[in-house]
Symmetry: C3
Subunit: 159 residues, 3 copies
């Protein structure tokens, strides 16, 4: 029983894996924050999609006018979907990369650039910043994931 | 070769990891069920988005009328997207949490509340139940993921 | 310190895990490719959703006409979302499956069929191929994931 528990914690004792865990938790929490931002815009802009969500703002016909789209709500939703499209590959490929035995400094470089670029991307999307700010931050994070995938495929290749 | 196989199964021998595997499989299967529910509504409501999908219901001009949106289809799709937005962080953060050495009872509490809340959320979305049923079940599952992320960051922190 | 690093690479030394890593990297890269395909259609069809993205094509009123939807852009986006809905469960359940001690040949069969079916699905969606091509490839990949989930639940079950 003791040996089993020791085994279970060994991954988290590895420094590269600890770095992966830290940055993955940060980018997933950042992605989750998009839900709160969307909810904030839905409530302040009074723009809902489900009839049952408008109850606090009126009943019957008077509530129907809140079933509408709002540019800020849609912008936050697009930022959220873009996170899903880009953070899911980072989490999946990053795990395999962390287990492929990279140098700690190289791994940290990948994780830090990805995380910084995605946080910048969120600001660029929500403010919004003029292009190519958002486009470049998207491309930087995308390239980091490609670089990790290359290391994974080089190390693990078994087709 | 023997030692290698023993190593490969050790994670799955750990009780917290087994619990994580069980609940992750359940919530991912539940998320996959949303595809079948959307397909069911598309077929019974005859509401499609791709022209090539309407072939069974008519040809040419007569098929075009099935290229439309339907409230039940859209509701199922929103439930599916909400699952993606919330179950992806659970799967990613939950894996790191399971490897961070929590007590089995604490881990089970997290996994059970999350899974129960997300199953309730699906019923609340599809029926639909009056608010705040859906909102509360969303918030409960969200809080469980935050709690696991806190444990991961406390254990693994390496920035 | 040396022993720690040896431990960190043991998963990647396991053949089933190497196969999982290879196919997961491939399907996630394929999913990421959908972003580039969407961007390609947005630029060639001049169909954007964010006002700040139209700058290269005109200013003020003349740029507004590029804020529109385009059938090819929407088709690529639906293919991307379908990937998220199906590749996320594969990555999550596949990891647990790879750790549940399957035979290498059985695991390879699962990973190869899933990957082949999802690559076919993308072609079927984008060309598009007549149905039931896309529907069948979706169902094949879906069934592979269900089969892996069954093995995971049978091996790990701890509720």
């Amino acid at each position: 029983r003791r040996g089993e528990m020791a085994k279970s914690t060994q991954l988290i004792d590895n420094e590269v894996f600890r770095a992966y865990a830290t940055y993955t938790a940060i980018v997933l929490l950042k992605m989750m924050l998009m839900s709160l931002i969307t909810a904030y815009f839905r409530i302040t802009r009074k723009a809902f999609v489900n009839p049952e969500d408008t109850g606090a703002f009126g009943k019957g016909e008077s509530a129907k006018k809140y079933l509408r789209t709002d540019p800020d709500v849609e912008r936050a939703r697009r930022g959220h979907l873009n996170d899903l499209e880009n953070i899911v590959p980072f989490v999946g490929i990053g795990l395999l990369y962390a287990l492929s035995g990279p140098e700690l400094s190289t791994a940290l470089l990948h994780f830090r650039i990805f995380t910084g670029a995605r946080i910048f991307h969120t600001f660029a999307y929500l403010l919004p910043l003029p292009q190519p700010g958002r486009g470049l931050s998207w491309a930087v994070a995308y390239s980091v994931t490609i670089s990790m995938a290359y290391k994974v495929l080089k190390t693990a290749w078994l087709l």
